[in-house]
Each structure stands twice: as C-alpha cells, then as structure tokens.
Amino acid sequence: MKHLLLATAACAIGATAAMADVKVGMITTLSGGGAGLGIDVRDGFMLAIEQSGRDDIEVVIEDDQRKPDIAVQLADRMIQSEEVDVLTGIIWSNLAMAVVPSATAQGKFYLSPNAGPSQLAGRGCHPNYFNVAWQNDNLHEAAGAYASEVGYSNSFILAPNYPAGQDALTGYKRLFEGDIAQETFTQLGQTDYAAEIAAIRASDADSVYFFLPGGMGISFLKQYADSGVDKPVIGPAFSFDQGILQAVGDAALGVTNTSQWSKDLDNAANQAFVESFVAEYDRLPSLYASQGFDTANLLISAMEKADVSDQDAFRAALEEADFDSVRGDFRFGSNHHPIQTIYAREVIEEDGVYTNRIIGTALEDHADVYAAECNM
C-alpha cells in the first residue's frame, strides 16, 4: 500500500495533538489512460500539504486505474478498513458517480478536485459533498458566453457521445446567443476526425466548439490544423492543458479556451504556487494541479477552525472556504459548488514550451444552474 505518511514519528507519539488527526483517502487515476490528470491532482494536493507544515494529516493514496469498479472497491476499503475522514481525488465523472453518493451516505466528507457531474450539483447534492473545481457545465457555458461576446453567430459544435459530452454541448448552447450550424456526436475514444472536419468545412459555421478530452482532443486539433479549414476554434481548458499541449504542438497555437485558472493569473497565491510547483516537480503546473492544490488548502483551512469529528462544525468551516485560492476569489454556492470567474485563454509558445495566457474574462462570478434543484 502506498501510504504516504506525513505524520512524523515524533508526532505519532504526539504529546500535544490538541485536535485529532485527519485521515484523507485519495482515490485517483495514476495508471493507464488519463493517469497524467491524477498525477497532477495528487502532486498539487501533496504540495499544499507539505507547504502547510502540518503533521496531523495522513493521506492514503490509491490508483483507481480509471475503472469505476476499482474505485468503488478502494472507497469501500478506505471507509471500512482505513476509516478515513475525508475522501478526495477522483478525476472522472463516472467514477465520482460510483463513489460519492455512497461515501457521503456513510458520513464521510468528499472534496472533489475535478469531476462535477450535474446530478451531484442538483437533486443529488449532499451536505458532505464539496466541489472545489467546477460544475461540469461551467467551462462550456463560459465558452458559449465568450463566443457570443467576440461576435460569433453560427457554431459547429461537437463532443463524444456520452453524458459529459452531451452536457458540454448543452452547456455551450445555454449561454451562446448565435445559431448552431450542426451538432455532432462522435464516438468516445475516436481517434480520426476526418469525417467531422469535412463536415465543418462544408458547413456555413463561423466558429467551432469542441469538447474532446484527452487523446481525442490531440487527434482532433492536429487533424484540424492540417486540414486547412480556418474557422476559429474554441474549447474548454481540458484540451489545452499543460500536460497535453506539448503533444498537440503548433496545432494548438492561438486557439481560445476557457478556464477558471491560468498560470499567469495575477495574484500572490498563484505566483507562489507556480513557482513552488516548478521547483518541486520540475514542470509547469496544470489546471488539475491547481485544483488539487486548492482542495488541500480548503481542507487545511477547515482543520484550523474545527475538529473533523464534529461534523457540523467541520462542514461549516468548509463552507466558509477561508483560504487563498490560486484562482483569486473563490466561494461556495448553496449547493457546495464554486462561484468563480472563468477566463478566456489563448495558447502561446513561451521559451519553447506551449502554454496559455489570459486574454479576457468569459464569465464573472459564475454559479451553476443546478443549484436551484438542490435541497440540503
């Protein structure tokens, strides 16, 4: 077991542990496809814990292999056998849906560093569930809003045919004021987009919106750039993140994407975070790393105010979100999802490395639409 025990031996004997130790179970994707995201969340999270200097947090990290059944099994083990207080780490919505409802029903806190499925924001919300990243629709809504703002009036939109893809297109359409030239669902895991690109070329759209996470986005962007079609492209940050950009290369240059965080965000917490992350891991932090970092800091801020064994007090402390988020202002809405500003970024090349810079604000203090359905 890959226990990362931060509690030192001296502390374990612990003469003066005023408050009980907090045991955190992190279930995230560390192997197989998509492992890069989990590794970033983990590294961001652990960096914050390390910087806090606290020795009363124990983190148990396990790899879910991006398989829902493994994730459920790990959650069972952490709850039944390790007796953790807080769970976190899951990257993918489908894994979150498999783990979160039963974990919160068993009285554990769950802090989501990435996935934000709509069910958990709306009718399926839970007092012990906090999302520190975004509700899944947020970045898509921002993209729709930004597309309208810069004057696009007719979009070709595409996403894989699975719930997150369907939510993505719904999210984009929600705040986009123009027309939709065509709405296309691709296969999940599809690697060749020649057919879709041909349809884009033939359409009268003035812009393209796509949500194709992971390798799908890499394939799409490379093929799109090579096709000679020159309609401007917008996407959510996922396809333009630090980890993935190097694989896309030139094809991504100049593409607009929406994100609640960027490494050039001008606040002290962020500058310190970027600097220390590079120093610690010798690579630029990604969106996911920033989310992991914020998640850990949220947890630490709550620990400073309340004991985890007093659930109500601890929950109230979490709700306050009294920490310096690397994305600037951050607070929770009534459904424990972020209310935050979402920016538009552009892909640039900087010292031979592909990265993003902020070019505008897409949505100010944006909350998700599901909060109204949530009765806690």
Partner: protein, 327 residues
Amino acid sequence: MIPERLVTIGAVAGLLAVALGAWALGEIFTITLATRAAILALAATGLNIALGYGGLVSLGHAAFFGLGGYAMGILAFHAQSYTPLELGSLTIEGTKSMPVIWLVAVCVSALAAWVIGLLSLRTGGVYFIMITLAFGQMFYYFAISWSAYGGEDGLPIYLRNSFPGVDTLVPVQFFGLCFAALVLALLLSARLRSAPLGLALNAARQSPARVAAVGISPTRVKLVAFVISGAITGLAGALYADLNRFVSPAMFSWQLSGELIVLVILGGVGRLAGPVIGACLFVTLEHWLGGLTDFWHVWLGAILLGVVLFARGGIVGLLTGKAGPHV
C-alpha cells in the same frame, strides 16, 4: 497428490472461512474482498462451462456480465425513480427485489448468449474467439452511447437491492447470498459435467465428428452449454452490480473478458474448483501486487505467461498432479 473432490471442497470452505474469520475479527473490508472473489468465481464458473468443458474460447463473456449488471441497474433505476420502464406498449415496473432481478438477468443474458452462440458457432476455432470479442465490443460501445441509462457515466444505485429475510446492507449477509449463489452454480456445474449433456459436451470438444456420429448435434450441445454459461455469468454480473451499487460500460469491456479467462486458467481450466481458486488468487494478487507497485499489470502478465508456458493445469493441476482437459 490430493483428490480433486477434496481440492474443490477445500477451496469453497476456504473462501467461507476467510469471510467468517474476517467477520469475527471485524475486518469488514476483507469480507468485501471475499464477496468480490465469490462473484468473480461465479462469473468464471459460468465461463468454465463453455471454456473448460466445451472448449469454446469466448473472449466476449463480459457481454453477459454486463447484461446482468444492466438488468439490475435498469430495474433498480426505475424502482428508485418511481418511473415505469416503457417498452413500446409494454410497461414494466422497476423493482428492488433481488430474486426478480436475478431472474431477469439470467433470462436476458441467456437470450443474448443464444443469439451470439448461434452466429459464432457457425464457425469454430479462431473465428469463434474474434467473433465473441467483437460482439462484446458492440455491447460496450452501445452501453457507452446509450444516454438514457447513464452512458459512459454508468448508473449508480443508491441502496443495495433487497432479498427476503436478509439485510443485504450488512456485508457478511450479502457475502452469504453471493456465496450461496456460487455454491449453487458449482453444484449445477458438477451436475452438468456428469450428466449426458456434459458427456456429450466433453466429447464434442475433443471430436465433434464422433458426437455427430452417435446422433448428437455437436453445435446444439455447444449452444446449450454456451447459453447456460452466459446465464451464470449474467447472474454474477447482477451480483457484482449490487456489490458496487453501480453499473457502467466497463462491465462490458474486453479486458474483463480477458480477466475472466485468466481466472479460469490460473485456477485450472475445466476443473470445478478452478474458477474459485483462480478468483481468490486474482483478488489477492490485485490487492497485494497493486499495493506494491503502480505497474502491477507487468507482473500479472509475467505470472500469466509462466502459467501458460509451464503450468498448464493451473493451481488445481499442481495440487492434484493431473493434467486437466485439453482446451
């Protein structure tokens, strides 16, 4: 060397002892692991009928596992959302009752096994392997894009389904149910092996022409076995979904089909105890190796290669000192 009967009884009793021991010690998670092993053993027991007795190398058994899982998921989903399932003019109420869900899971997977078997048994050998694999993938892709039941996200069931007289939320009681299902399946498997159907199936694996020459259609025998096999694996799928309180397209994935074969081979192909021992070993390996290294699949692959190249009888073969049926 140990007689096979003793190995079988030992394996089943061992699994029970682990679960009961863990219960006595309050090690709830070990019970969960034992339950997982029992369910995987059940699925592999189903596969063993096709693979071990009939020599049908099915690389698509995840299709039945997934169908069983979705039978549970869909019925429970409609029950927990109080919306009936509309199939054309037919209206079906959802249910949270395990016996009903199991019946549906068994029937649906048997039906699918019949259709897939009918098509893939038109040919044999390597065609059979690829065709079962391809049909498994077809279900996988369909499940991913079928958004009504969660698609790729899968379908969570918030409360475990109910069984009369049992509190299924108590881990050891749910283990009891799964263990009982496993024992019943093993009894059925043993009965099948010694029944005329088993005799004919076993002979059809070795010499289809011989079986036809004595008035038994080898294709029909294999089809019947494939259907029974699929039905048992489907039941396991329904239980697995209940264990995780969650179904997803991952249950249809071809890696899972491959893992089911691995379970059977590790334990001993065509042996009654093979799937049980294989499943226990697999769960243990996954738990321990997975704890030692992120790259445990490399070592699993190495172990598997070793078994295939040097220990064809699997664990049961080593224990009994007898080579099993040649598949």
